[in-house]
Symmetry: C2
């Protein structure tokens, strides 16, 4: 078992990474919380696989847990489901010192985290991410939230968990497409922060695709460490933290205009990374060879590098970028690579270049 500490003063917390960790859920929670009612929020897929185990484990440690199971899928991240959770939790008399366990992928973590952040102005929160994407990204760093019809994650909070348990055994039941989508964020960490990890991914990508436990655990730990460092330096995204959005400006917009139905988040971000690399080559001397290395690694991971968009959809994509939370003055901001392992954030890009690149990836 590996442990990464996210250093945020009195809001610091540990991330545990390894096999069989779901079996330690109750014990780990008992170190933080008094025995009492608590709630596990999950989705229909994950609940079927691990819901019972989580509930039994918490019960054995002295808690009285109850389970809320929501439909699987991005459309679950709605205010309607938040309300559903609030009412259930209030009915079960969850108190201020109690806690919510998010058992699932990014959708469940984001929604359950928002519920925990806002119920009684904030109760305890434990992340048990069961997808690679959630393990390396969304479960760490305290961004929680839900979608509006006007855009993804438009409503949310910064709210740190008390504990993150990454049980890599849960990846064995993860659909292959989701595993690949998670690797998209892994590649992102390498591009923005760690050229040595990029070299390692070029060497070990097949091991990761085959879920080789040692490699998986070590790569997840490194990603969490990078995220922890970045978040510790800039919790509320006033500066550096923006680098984590590499590939996300176009990625988020792609998800939005396809109504979150065609592409997984990691797939959209893969296309966004390719686009950002191409823009980097045009506006900040990012090496053409390195553009090709990124494309090659994304291709070997089995991720998409383009998405067919007609002219009207390309316009809609640019429009959607202007509504991005990071936009200001109606202008999208980009994270662009200068070399592998280093990026600049907050970059304005001439609209002609954006249009050209969007046309290239279409």
């Amino acid at each position: 078992m590996r442990v990464i500490k996210v250093e945020l003063g009195e809001r610091s917390y540990p991330i545990y990474i390894g096999g069989g960790l779901l079996g330690l859920l109750g014990d780990k929670c008992a170190k933080i919380f008094e025995p009492q009612n608590c709630v596990v929020i999950t989705d229909s897929n994950v609940g079927r696989l691990y819901g019972k185990q989580a509930i039994e484990n918490l019960s054995a440690a002295g808690f009285s847990p109850f389970l809320i199971t929501l439909p699987a899928g991005e459309s679950t991240k709605s205010l309607r489901n938040v309300e559903y959770c609030y009412n259930h939790i209030a009915q079960k008399r969850i108190e201020r010192r109690s806690f919510v366990v998010a058992l699932g992928g990014g959708v469940i973590g984001d929604l359950a985290g928002f519920v925990a952040a806002t119920y009684m102005r904030g109760i305890g929160f434990v992340q048990v991410p069961t997808t690679l994407l959630a393990q390396v990204d969304s479960s760490v760093g305290g961004k929680v939230g839900i979608n509006l019809k006007y855009g993804k994650n438009l409503v949310g909070s910064f709210y740190q968990p008390n504990l993150v348990l990454c049980d890599i055994d849960t990846l064995n039941t993860l659909p292959e497409r989701e595993l690949r989508a998670g690797l998209s964020e892994v590649i992102k960490y390498a591009v923005i922060y760690d050229s040595a990890m990029f070299n390692r991914l070029e060497k070990d990508i097949e091991k990761l695709l085959n879920n080789e436990p040692k490699t998986v655990a070590s790569v997840i730990a490194r990603c969490c460490q990078i995220k922890a460092e970045v978040v510790a330096a800039d919790e509320k995204e006033s500066g550096l933290r923006a680098i984590l959005n590499f590939g996300h400006t176009i990625g988020h917009a792609l998800e939005a205009i396809t109504n979150y139905k065609k592409l997984l988040h990691g797939e959209a971000v893969a296309i966004g990374q390719v686009a950002a690399a191409m823009i980097g080559a045009m506006v900040c001397n990012f090496n053409e060879t390195d553009v090709q290395r990124i494309k090659q690694l994304i291709k070997r991971t089995g991720l998409p590098m383009c998405y067919k968009l007609d002219e009207a959809s390309q316009k809609k994509l640019i429009e959607a970028m202007r509504l991005d939370k990071k936009a200001s003055g109606g202008e999208a901001k980009f994270v662009l690579p200068t070399k592998i392992g280093t990026v600049k954030f907050g970059q304005k890009v001439p609209v002609e270049i954006i249009e050209k690149v969007i046309n290239d990836i279409s």
Copy 2:
């Protein structure tokens, strides 16, 4: 114009108190925010009186404000209205560095503050409280939130405003019943923190009831200063801040069982203060003479000291107290006076004593 500073490190903010301050709204905002779209949230009563002035004033200072007007009344503090605001704000392309102005009483401040706290994980927030209650209490200290059918303020955040403008001229249009209700919280500050202010209130209560500007401004400033000191010492209510809930354990429960329709918050808190004073006399040697002084002052203010409850309703009241956010292990906690100007918080009280006092105030 008086200025009180709430000292919370990088989240510190000023409270301005005086006449004619609504005319400075645009200028004060322009010192903090760039010219851009912004939103003013108000209710139908306050909007009719001051909405146009606020919008024109912000426009003159270079902003492009738009107005959201919600129905007046406690039932406005719902998730449904929060959603309505989110969608309007998203549609108007309010960006991360923009801000929400809450123009109204506690209901509007709490709801608009929750919208500001959670839209894009937190945008700017300006409080322009127009009731005495909001000026001395709810606009200061960063508690924002909404009600669920299971209880008041069950959903919310701690979110500090960037600026509070208390224009005491707005009190001239405040219904007398609301003014009296606001004075209930003023009395509370005196009981929990400042015996000299209690003496002053005994002397000046008629001046306050007549809206005598100098007395009003000075008393509001003192209340804000007390709240600022308490909040600075304990922003997230892990300890001392609980003293602000004097009179609220029974007060909140009274509001809940009467569906927030019979009593104004301040009226319920007045009854709650009388009850807490009586409990104080029974469990922590609070002087009987001082119980009478509190009763007398509340009576002179024209506030209720009791509320007719049959036996079944008395049971419901005790049940409602157990769901209070400050309850733990299903047990309500009380703030009890030891002398005027000093209270103890987190006090458990034997159920027989609670039952007796509730019977006495019925």
